[in-house]
Amino acid sequence: MPVQIARACVPYTPFKKKLEESRVALVTTAGVYAEGMEPFTDNDLSFRMIPQGVEPASLKVVPGHYDPASAEADINCVFPVERLAELLSAGKIGKIADYHVSMGLATALRKLKEETSWEIADKVARMRPDVVILTGG
């Protein structure tokens, strides 16, 4: 009798802490970078480590897969750094990770999956966040 091959499992890590005690990091593919950093280019597999506490006005976005007008007016539309800082001040989250991670639009999906995603995962893991919030732009 042929064996049915199951669809790929969904990776899942249970959340067992309280948000008020958790360290939170943002990871985005919205193409966010800080002033002084190299902007993203087309099909760019590089990523930027955006320091926690960076001045929001110094954050820029690369026009790529979306109209950047809203993000240029208010970075929180795609990368909610100020909203996260406010939640910290209000005691709703415990800490913010030392860095957030940002990528641009990458179309080399195999290389993204087999190499870059592991590099990013390693960088993120070293910051020991309890929660990662992902945004796509």
């Binding site: 899942y12 890590t13 539309c77 909203r83 939640l87 309890d130 929660v131 990662v132 732009g137």
Partner: protein, 70 residues
Amino acid sequence: MGIASVLITVSPEESAQAGPSRALYPKPFEVGQSLGPPGNTELQTRILTDAMDLLQHPSEPGTIVTRDYS
């Protein structure tokens, strides 16, 4: 050992193919405004906290929860 994560997506069909652990689709927003329009602090906070709430009140892994913010 992994890290608990939640995705805020405004491309739910595309995101579903990637099988996110937890995901929020904040209707009716589109790419470039995943957390809503500029300057709407209260709405951005609400979307962010609703996404984080999925960590404490999860659906079946791979489910994209749709909430309407219009």
